[in-house]
């Protein structure tokens, strides 16, 4: 019914205002704020005036260098070796601290090194080791979680896409972790992973008849990040299962019947009927998992706080930690902008991947 209210442009804007206003204040403004702050030295609370620093924040985050050093030799030209027989190298500090010959390496620390044949060794240096660790961890997280979680979700979806009595109970069980807050889930898993009396250690102890040595899953740099990966996969697998399920149900049942009459085995049916029919769903699932995985934060914040020994640092955790923990809001903003660029390029890649082919 056409009344003055429904036709008035002003009324329309007024109705949109609450939602639109909130979006402007909490999404659009902060987005541009972050970009501009990342070029300054703004601190969260500071009496000093803000200064424009150009790309200094980015240089700090991404600054990397390389130096190749020859092994140390004694007077006779013999390589000096340590107790394990490995050659020794000059101290990196001599190059990275106030060395006028290597100004570009000033303030950097060793990230990793690799041999180059012979006894020379190349050292990769980084200005901000913690951030690069966070990037590396996040990428590892994405590369592990995307295929494993996606695959596991598909297996679950195939299992529950059957007409069985009580199948809804399984659907509910698998979906349950998704509706529980990630903070609560993280807290619970902290108990499961507990080093002394955790559920996981107890179960492993029971299954191995007491031979299993208890592990402090979250306290050990070797197992901490893996534990978080495992728990994260478990938590969101139900969500992607539902997406797969919706994809499965768009495949016409007669296609399966046709395949059955042609004598197709279960595996052949999956290969020739199910999987091709899930192509678009697969792309969607992978992109969504990737996006979510890049945003890894709550689990870290609740379970490990980035430790032990920075082994569970991630990009978003670093952004928050820096911006609010260390009150370096400009550094945190720069990290956010970098994350935005990473996610944007993945999103563009996805658009390219799923483009309409003519």
């Amino acid at each position: 019914m056409a009344s003055k209210l429904t036709q008035s442009n002003r009324a329309g804007w007024l109705f949109a205002l609450p939602g639109f206003g909130l979006m402007v204040v909490f999404i659009i403004l902060p987005f541009f704020f972050a970009i501009s702050l990342s070029f300054t030295n703004q601190r969260l609370i500071s009496p000093n005036p803000t200064e424009w620093v150009g790309l200094a924040n980015y240089r700090q985050l991404l600054g990397m260098g390389m130096i190749t050093l020859d092994a140390v030799t004694d007077e006779s030209g013999q390589i000096v070796r340590d107790d394990t027989g490995a050659p020794t190298y000059p101290r990196l500090r001599e190059y990275t601290r106030n060395n006028p010959d290597y100004p570009h390496l000033d303030g950097m620390k060793q990230w990793f090194s690799f041999g180059r044949g012979g006894e020379a060794r190349t050292f990769v240096l980084a200005r901000d080791l913690v951030f690069l660790t966070a990037v590396k961890n996040t990428v590892v997280f994405v590369l592990v979680v995307a295929p494993v979680q996606g695959g596991l979700a598909l297996v679950l979806a195939l299992l529950i896409n059957q007409k069985l009595r009580g199948i809804n109970i399984y659907r509910t069980i698998y979906f349950m972790p998704v509706v529980v807050s990630i903070v609560v889930v993280s807290l619970l898993w902290r108990f499961i992973y507990d080093g002394n009396n955790g559920l996981l250690n107890n179960i492993l102890d029971f299954l191995s008849f007491g031979y299993f040595e208890p592990v402090n899953w979250l306290g050990n740099p070797k197992t901490a990040f893996g534990s978080i990966i495992g728990m994260s996969i478990w938590q969101a697998v139900g969500f992607h299962m539902v997406i797969w399920l919706s994809g499965l149900q768009t495949i016409s049942p007669t296609l399966y019947e046709a395949a059955e009459i042609e004598g197709s085995s279960k595996w052949q049916t999956f290969r020739y009927v199910t999987w091709p029919g899930l192509r678009n769903t697969a792309i969607l699932v992978l992109i969504v998992i990737t996006m979510q995985a890049f945003g890894l934060f709550a689990q870290i914040d609740v379970m490990t706080n980035g430790g032990p020994l920075d082994s569970t640092q991630t990009i978003v955790f670093q952004a928050v930690e820096r911006g609010y923990g260390k009150q370096d809001i400009s550094g945190g903003s720069a990290i956010s902008v970098l994350l935005f660029l990473i996610v944007l390029s993945i999103s563009l890649f996805q658009r390219w991947l799923t483009r309409e082919r003519t």
């Binding site: 016409s252 007669t254 296609l255 019947e257 046709a258 009459i261 042609e262 004598g263 197709s264 091709p276």
Partner: protein, 355 residues
């Protein structure tokens, strides 16, 4: 090649009986059509033969081997679906050779068989296209091609032409008929369209509510329908049914009449006594109206004349207020409101007990 024998075949979903004991023998090389209204169980019966539905009771034999518990792929059947069921992500060639791919046939074998199927169906030029680039008729051709390459003993068609438009349907109908003559395979065909049934079948099985009403050759069903349902289902326009009362017996014939029909003797074997109410069935094609109101035994008024070109359909209201349809030659002219009488050959009329 194989015959198909159904013995007291039954199907129920829980307490609901869908197929209530079907006995049927389809000979080797025969074209058998299951026909009936929606929900009569004809598709279910076909799917039971295909192996897509479990058999609740009775036995099903293909080629003298009972196959109740045999997997669909081992029954030697191929099926063409109403929705075509061709795989959207494969080319026509990949679709046609799908069964061979599954059976891990060699490339040369696949190419030879696909080429042969394409030749039979005249779709060589379509082989590298995708299903989305095909018309409905072409898609159905692909589905039939996929069935042909497997050289099945029995072809099953589940309403294959229902999704096509009228003219295409006629073309494809003729092609399927031709295919049957070329391949000489046993074919079972499900349709709700009695024209398809009449034109294609060697043997028609009329089903209703999971029970076989009549089995026979098309013209057999047309001229000698076993009951009221078959009489009404086969033939277009449908047979006219008049409520009549038995007045007596005259040798082989029962003398019947009603308010619009003068007493007439219709040959019948029905055990009916005087006063019994029966249905008199007369096909519209066998009615001859005349403007002379005393020429025929049926009396009424023309209410509508439809000219279809090849024939003219005249709707009438009889003097006892029931409706009647007569189908006449192309040029018969009867104006609306005209009082007419209709004559008919009593040997071509049928008497049934009312249901």
């Amino acid at each position: 090649m194989a015959n198909v024998v159904l013995k007291d075949l039954r199907k129920s979903y829980g307490n609901v009986d869908v197929i209530k004991g079907v006995d049927l023998t389809i000979n080797d090389g025969e074209f058998c059509v299951f026909v009936g209204p929606s929900g009569c169980g004809k598709s279910t019966l076909l799917r039971m033969i295909a192996g897509l539905e479990d058999i609740t009771g009775g036995s099903l034999a293909i080629g003298d081997k009972v196959v109740n518990e045999v997997q669909p792929k081992d029954r030697g059947v191929a099926m063409v679906f109403q929705s075509y069921a061709i795989f959207p992500h494969m080319t026509v060639r990949e679709n046609v050779e799908f069964g061979l791919t599954i059976a891990k046939a060699t490339k040369a074998e696949k190419e030879a068989k696909v080429a042969e199927a394409a030749r039979i169906l005249q779709m060589e030029h379509l082989l590298d296209r995708r299903p989305s680039q095909l018309s409905g008729g072409q898609r159905q051709r692909v589905a039939i091609g996929r069935a042909i390459v497997r050289k099945p003993e029995v072809f099953l068609f589940d309403e294959p032409l229902s999704n096509l438009d009228a003219s295409l349907r006629m073309d494809m109908r003729m092609e399927i008929g031709k295919l049957h003559k070329d391949l000489r395979a046993t074919m079972i065909y499900v349709t709700h369209d009695q024209v398809e049934a009449m034109t294609l079948a060697d043997k028609i099985v009329v089903l209703r509510d999971g029970i076989v009403q009549q089995i026979g050759a098309p013209m057999d069903l047309y001229h000698h329908p076993a009951n009221l349902f078959v009489a009404g289902f086969i033939g277009s326009p449908s047979m006219n049914f008049l409520d009549v009362e038995v007045k007596g017996r005259d040798g082989d014939a029962l003398v019947v009449s009603n308010g619009a029909l003068d007493p007439v003797g219709v040959p019948s074997t029905l055990e009916a006594t005087t006063g019994t109410r029966l249905k008199l069935g007369i096909r519209p094609q066998y009615l001859r109206p005349s403007t002379d109101t005393q020429a025929g035994k049926l009396h009424g008024t023309v209410t509508l004349t439809e000219r279809l070109g090849s024939e003219t359909v005249v709707n009438l209201r009889l003097t006892d207020d029931s409706a009647l349809i007569a189908a006449l030659g192309e040029d018969a002219i009867f104006d609306r409101g005209r009082n007419v009488s209709l004559s008919f050959d009593p040997t071509r009329a049928h008497l049934f007990f009312a249901e």
